[in-house]
């Protein structure tokens, strides 16, 4: 009986890690987009465009704990390269990287408060205050 509990516990831990390793992209519930493609998301997060395809302003938000994983999935580049990229752009004074929030709760709060905000959080943190635009496979 005890062994069964241990196995179940391990399964839950693994399942929990698996769920957290797959960030989901969320937006304000009032956002007109139902989903977003990777190309458009990349353009927004890498500063190429500042609006969604429907023309509304986009406010990208980073999540500190998921940031490396997110950018790896989004650009296939390590986080160090992304930081260097932003360093160049910041030095020009014409743009700045997305604001980094410490956790999923902070990201949800920002997204909830700004209609154009877009962020990424762990899948298990998703609630009804935000809507999912993209799931990484």
């Amino acid at each position: 009986m005890t062994a069964m509990k241990i196995i179940l516990l391990l399964f839950m831990v693994v399942a929990s890690f698996s769920a957290s390793a797959e960030p989901v992209v969320i937006a304000n519930v009032n956002n007109k987009l139902k989903e977003i493609d990777v190309s458009n998301l990349q353009d927004i997060y890498m500063g190429r465009v500042r609006s969604f395809k429907d023309g509304s302003m986009a406010l990208p938000i980073d999540q500190a704990k998921l940031r490396a994983d997110f950018y790896q999935k989004l650009t296939q580049r390590p986080i160090e390269q992304i930081n260097a990229y932003w360093a160049r752009i910041m030095f020009s004074g014409e743009a700045s990287p997305p604001r980094i929030m410490p956790d999923d709760v902070s990201v949800i709060r920002i997204v909830k408060e700004n209609s154009g905000a877009i962020g990424y959080i762990s899948a298990e943190s998703v609630n009804k205050e935000v809507k999912i635009l993209l799931r990484f496979k």
């Binding site: 990349q42 890498m46 500063g47 190429r48 650009t75 296939q76 580049r77 990229y85 160049r88 752009i89 020009s92 004074g93 014409e94 743009a95």
Partner: protein, 356 residues
Amino acid sequence: MASVILAAIGFSIIAAAIFYANELVRSRQKTQVMINQLLDTVEYSSAIAAYTNNEQIAKDVLQGLLRNDIVQEVNITGDQGMKLTQSKESLANASEQIKRPLVSPFDNQQVVGQITVVSRGDYNLVEATRSALLSAINSFLLIALTTVIILWVFRRNVLQPLTIVSNTLHDIMVGQKQRIAPLEKHQNDELGRFILDINSLLEVLDAKFKDEQALRLKIEGFERQLRNIFETTSAGLFQIDQTGKILTCNPTFLKFLDNDTLSQHELTECDFAETFIEDNNLFKSMIETAMNSQSLISNDLALKVNERSNGAGWLHCLLSRVGETDGRVILEGVVFDISERVAKEKASVIKPNMII
């Protein structure tokens, strides 16, 4: 020496021209390589600028590129409408354009813009000219130095010894015992052998000269003896051609003819038979017979009577053909004075009649 120096200068000029043309091509290739290297350096920043439509980064890239001597003009375009061009203020001619597409920093398949670099037209010429000039000076100095050294060595080792040999040889008179002294530093080389050969030739020439001199003296002795015989013999000797014209004769022959009106020259031009022989037909028939028979013909010939002669003179003549020179047949003759014998014979014939 002047021709050697001129040849060296000419060779330097030709080498410099070839090097200049080669250097121009090499400089163009080098410029292309350098511009491509510059583009490699700024490509990522340019791609970021085009990707994010960031003009500030693009300007930094342009200004950075324009600091290079070989770059005259730079242009960056982005797919979001960015279009920046900067060029140097100098009026240097634009030369080659090198274009490179800019791909997205996050997707190698997505072209987000283009960067174009135009190189300075005169850069290659300046570089090529500078390199060619340096090379020309270098090669000229090298060739000049080499030429001077070669000339000095040639003069010291070849020209001066040859001059000594030439002057010595020039001063040696024919028949002298003087020879060219061997040169100290050229005992065993070509020049030493050359001097030995010249001395050997001089020895041979000297021996030949002495032999010739001795032979000439001997011949002169023979000639004197023959001339003595020719001039003092009791027989008259002469040569005539087929027409009877006297070609040459000895003093005895002239003495027999007892001629003093014709000079030696007139004598040799006159017809012997017509001038001196009473029965000239007889002599002409002797000539014909001698020419045809190839044998010795002899006959007694009566000389024409002249004022100085006391009576008719008689000659016994032996005539034979000698040969032919330049189509002219030569006959030689020997005459003996038989006037006395003929007179005695005539006297002995007359006496019996007188008795009768």
